[in-house]
Symmetry: C2
Subunit: 336 residues, 2 copies
Amino acid sequence: MKIAFEELKAVIKKAFLKAGLTEEQAELCAQIHTESSADGVESHGANRVPRFVDYIHRGLIDLKGSPELLGAKGAVENYDGHLGIGICNAMFCADRAAALAKEHGIGCVALKNTTHWMRGGTYAWHMADMGLMGMCWTNTESCMPMWGSDALGVGNNPFCIAIPRENGPIVVDMAMSQYSYGKLGVYRLAGKQLPYPGGFDSDGNLTTDPGAIEKSMRILPTGYWKGTSLAIALDMAAMLMSNGIVASDMDQDKYGSCGGCSQIFIAYDPYLFGSKEEIQEKLDKRVEAADSTHPADPKHPVRCPGESTVARRKKSMAEGIHVDDDVWQQILALAE
Amino acid sequence: MKIAFEELKAVIKKAFLKAGLTEEQAELCAQIHTESSADGVESHGANRVPRFVDYIHRGLIDLKGSPELLGAKGAVENYDGHLGIGICNAMFCADRAAALAKEHGIGCVALKNTTHWMRGGTYAWHMADMGLMGMCWTNTESCMPMWGSDALGVGNNPFCIAIPRENGPIVVDMAMSQYSYGKLGVYRLAGKQLPYPGGFDSDGNLTTDPGAIEKSMRILPTGYWKGTSLAIALDMAAMLMSNGIVASDMDQDKYGSCGGCSQIFIAYDPYLFGSKEEIQEKLDKRVEAADSTHPADPKHPVRCPGESTVARRKKSMAEGIHVDDDVWQQILALAE
């Protein structure tokens, strides 16, 4: 079904207030979850509301936890998230990275001991909205085998880059698995095969059958060996930069998904060495050059990452946000 | 054939001196080309010597060009490479990023108007060798279609991360195309199919036939749509950070491959918030956890990126470096 932004946000906020969040926490978290659904990232938007509330009830998220400054040097700050709300911790750190970038050209915040930030792109978009180039990533528990392994060994560690652009930012929000388990479920329930192989079946053959991959748990890394190489480097980098923990420490499941993880936020002032006018013009020309390359299928023009999100958001604002019927009923129940 | 490190380096150095490099330039460049071959990255090691010399003769590389500081703010510096030797420019900037990191926690150097840096991993390894976490990337001319396009539109923009480790760094050096054209050529000449699809043929079908991809020029991005999304964001980020140019500016081919490109070097002090002992122990445990995950094929144990490079380097030092016979003859001729 389709629900207006303000209505969806209001109901989610009510559910969050009922779960014990403060007015300020509930406002921010409801806004972010609703935005993610509006942008078409339902898996980390409305769909995630029930699990978030469940994590609070299970004590996996500490509503009183907030970022504590542990150390700082020059352009870098290190925080302990105290297992507070992932969204609140991450937004705080993205803001701090931006402030550091304004002062030092580049700013970096290394957050440890936090919880699931939901959609990684949120913080990249946020940095771009503040007029900065942004980069952020998180480590996660193991959900994918290392290349050459048939057992879970590394997280999908989403990595995001945002390029601020007056005409709409260019944003990459990229997990290191080719498909998420959420996506596999969507295809399986629809009785569809994946458009490209998404993992190995239990016999070790590449397959487009989502159910076979859910069973083997041998989800495919983005670009085969490349995806797990980048994933494990990002895992170690997040730990090292924040003095936090790595996937193998999160795998006992006592924390829930991403509990105790580290997140890195890097912001960069885009107009250090060129004027805003000059840089923006060069960005526009680059996007135009990419978008005007010849499409393989004339019905599908080429687009840079982020452009279709802006279009989807506009559509959601005009026509309402798509929410799964069951999910909507669950959120309504949580808000009652 | 196999050639000892010092012999290979000496002959390459002689060729470079003959091409007009100074003693210092020739020493550094010969060292780096030889190291790349020793590490098994022949495509950007010995194999690249003739093309590098050709670029000098064609005036695409200015032997007198060296990094000029254009601007600086806090932890960031911006250089114009003046189309100097890519290796020399990049090594200088990696060193500067390291020095900035020592002072500000994080350091970033944005280099513009430089030339091909050969193997991107060189600078990541170098930062790790200096005890820092390193990240670097370059933009390149278009060599890959944007996702959904059948015409060249974006570079393969290699992205590197190095994690410093006493027991051997973990290093990712990852182009945004699944296979390089060099690799396609190797498979085609050997009459082999690629292990996984590497592009689309002229009819738009995914294929493992290297010749069909060389013909269509529809090389596959790493992780399908993900690879070109990350590639174009890295292209724009490199331009924006350095106030340089983008792929579409390099596509006129008047510059040769990567001529005029931008490169970004980010270094991070790994012991800002944890002691060296603590961080190194956590890194070792992480590598051990990954490497001990169950292998799909018991003959091929799981390894983290960089570990096999260290092994390959040791083998090259003990047994000599593999160099293609034709390439060796070409280098000998250039050195005469």
